[in-house]
Amino acid sequence: MAKNISQNQVADPQPSDGITVAASPTNLSPTTPDPKLLSVRRTWLPPWVRSLGQTYGAAIALLLILLYNVFFTPYFVTMQTFNINLTQVSTIVIVATGMTLVIATGGIDLSVGALMALGGAAAPIIFLNPPFGNQTFGNVLAFIVPVLIAGAFGLFNGGLITYFKIQPFIATLILFIAGRGIAQVVTNGKLQTFNNDTFEFIGLGQLFGVRFQIILMVVIVLVAAWIMRVSTFGRYVLAVGGNESAARLAGVPVSRVKLIVYAVSGLLSGIAGLIVIAINTSSDANQVGLGMELDAIAAVAVGGTPLTGGRATIIGTLIGALIMQLIRFTLLAHGVPDSIALVIKAAIILIAVYVQRSRRS
């Protein structure tokens, strides 16, 4: 019987008649669970490695990859490598930051790539045809309006989820499909090319020798991490994801919180869309943000945020995205073809999620 209990410890089935498990004497211990019970889990790793891996796994992995490159990849410690890697990852990080908030509420946002395309399609239309013929005005609007449009579409996602009770996966699938279509309709399916130094600054400009988009990424990550740490909103996000009905009974404005996270996810996708078209000096509604939703979700998962909601780490997401980027860079720098790099990338996701899995039991 003792064996039976320890095996069931992980699954924690609820006896159907409403006997609360918490009532049991074995669960009364006010401190952490009995280590003997935890060690029943089969593992080939010593316990201290495990707990370290669960808490700092992603950070340690990133450090190891960095060290490897420092010693074995020629010209790794250069400003150029730094800029290349971070510019390639910045849009993923920006989108994944919004995705982390959405996932923290227990949701998912599949529309981010399509919203990037929408933002990217709107910007050139504005600055190529500036209102009142005023180019400066047009440039300013081209930064603001596309981001707001993407945010409004994010709000639409949130509305479907909160007011029409559609599951987030399906609700955001709608714009995943339609968003890119709308972007193509707006641009008549044409590639928009341009030459606008002011606008391109968001992607190509530099401040103190660092690409502006990298600075933007760092600012967004820090602000989001700070908000999650100190604000009431951050606590509401985690409460909604952790136990929605309990949160509602405690007076948490559940609908508003959900609307906001999807709107923020849209806003950040819009910003990422602007960066991508600025780098390319052209906007192709067919290409901008393609596959971004999966890269962003992967970064969130590798970073240690469980998809079940209720817990979130923005810095973890940054680290997760950096790991994925550096793996790809390392493999390419050592002559491994991109096709094989994809397989290795998938393996990394699997390992990362496996190592952290006990945190989400």
Binding site: M1, N4, I5, N8, Q9, D12, P13, Q14, P15, S16, D17, G18, I19, T20, V21, A22, A23, S24, P25, T26, N27, L28, S29, P30, T31, T32, P33, V230, S231, T232, F233, R235, Y236, L238, A239, G242, N243, S245, A246, A247, R248, L249, A250, G251, V252, P253, G310, R311
Partner: protein, 524 residues
Amino acid sequence: MEQSEPLLTPLLTMEGITKTFPGVLALQEAWLKVNYGEVHALIGQNGAGKSTLIKLLTGAYRRDKGTVLFDGKNIDFHSPQQAQAGGVSTIYQEVNLVPLRSVSENIFMGREPRRFGLLNWKLMNGQAAALLARFGIRLDVTQPLHTFNVATQQMVAIARAVSFQSKLVIMDEPTSSLDEREVETLFEVIRQLKSEGVSVIFVSHRLDELYSVCDRVTVMRDGQTVATRTITDVSKLELIALMLGKELGEVRKQGVTAFGKENAHHAEQLLLETHQLRRGQKLRGVDVSVRTGEIVGLAGLLGAGRTETARAIFGADTLESGQIEIAGRTVRFKSPKDAIRAGIGLCSEDRKIEGIIPYMSVRENLTLALLPQLTRYGIVQRKKQQTIVESFIKRLGIKTSGPDQKIRELSGGNQQKVLLARWMCLNPRLLLLDEPTRGIDVGAKGEIQSLIAELAGAGLGVLMISSELEELTEGCDRVVVLRDGQSVAELSKQSENLNQDTIMAAMAQGGDEITVAKEKDGDG
């Protein structure tokens, strides 16, 4: 009045059934005997073990110990599918069929009659219609299931069960979502089944129903089988006494709970008053009032509408009709947020599902409802928060390694204290407590009870739902008894009619027949 032993060997004999879940003994040497062609009721309070027993029979769970004899054979089903093939079908409260497929497809799902590898629609529809006609139900079996009402869907589920040549059909609270006319149709079907020699196990919380359709009744309590009786030999009051584990008319010890003896809360202003709260089948006219400094108990059997009443007052569920007055003003809360702003707090019955945010800390759980007041420019005032949390940990004696500990790591009693503190720190005027001491160890239970008494002493109004009669008689100034979604009696210390017998009598009969308790003492 001993167990009425049948002369024939029973269809089903479950004996010595024991089942443990991690740390919980769900069933201990439970037994159940069902005769051939018998409608057998299975009743008990929440947590008595009815569902567990049924799930062990149908193979949804595996038993630790015990024997099951079914139709003369020793059986051990590994899954509900296997049980169905073996002659035991279960019909759940929520009909688990496929709403978009036709009635006949639902009845024959998984074993559709085929011809040349294709579905034989004609045969299938014909057989389905014939099956339903046996119960006097005529409908177009080619229509999708969801176009019919719940009662009809249930008939379809029963027809499906019967088509498996079931010898035993288990119905788990089949009437809870039906109106009176639909219930009568269901009973007709049950009587038809019985006349064909099929046995039925009927789980229900509505005692009245048992008398119109059941032959015998088995009562369970705390994971054990208490008794099996012939329904005509037992009164509702006796059934309730058996379910609650009380002897009727017995002299009872005082001071079983930690509620203070004085109870001199002089109820002053009227704080809460409800008029005829209605919502679906669960709330059908509830009147309850609470004054400042008063503890009012809400008693009733499972499914009587106690939790629904609390949720309706708190704005968690919308009402169909009825009126709620707070301090003399009619209110209509759109959400719990509005109720909280009006100074009301609700501790729900199920801490895990509706109380704690498991992965958040004690600090965040405790201050969750207070956050709007702790917020300045969108940011939580950490120092203020910490001071409040520490003071409540100290005041309530919450055993925790610190405010940062995750609430899921706390014991049930300490979790409950955190949830009480969640409301106390708001300085509410009215607390709605749904089974505040359920599933909590004895020590913490006493602490929580004296805390509730202390709060009322300080002028707070408390509406307390409890299934423990001692809590109601010792802790409450008044007790409102609910039955089938209606308030049927009000008992109070002041009018000296508040005791365990009167509560049980009201649960059984309603307000007019409280005297029954005095006539029928002892249970033979």
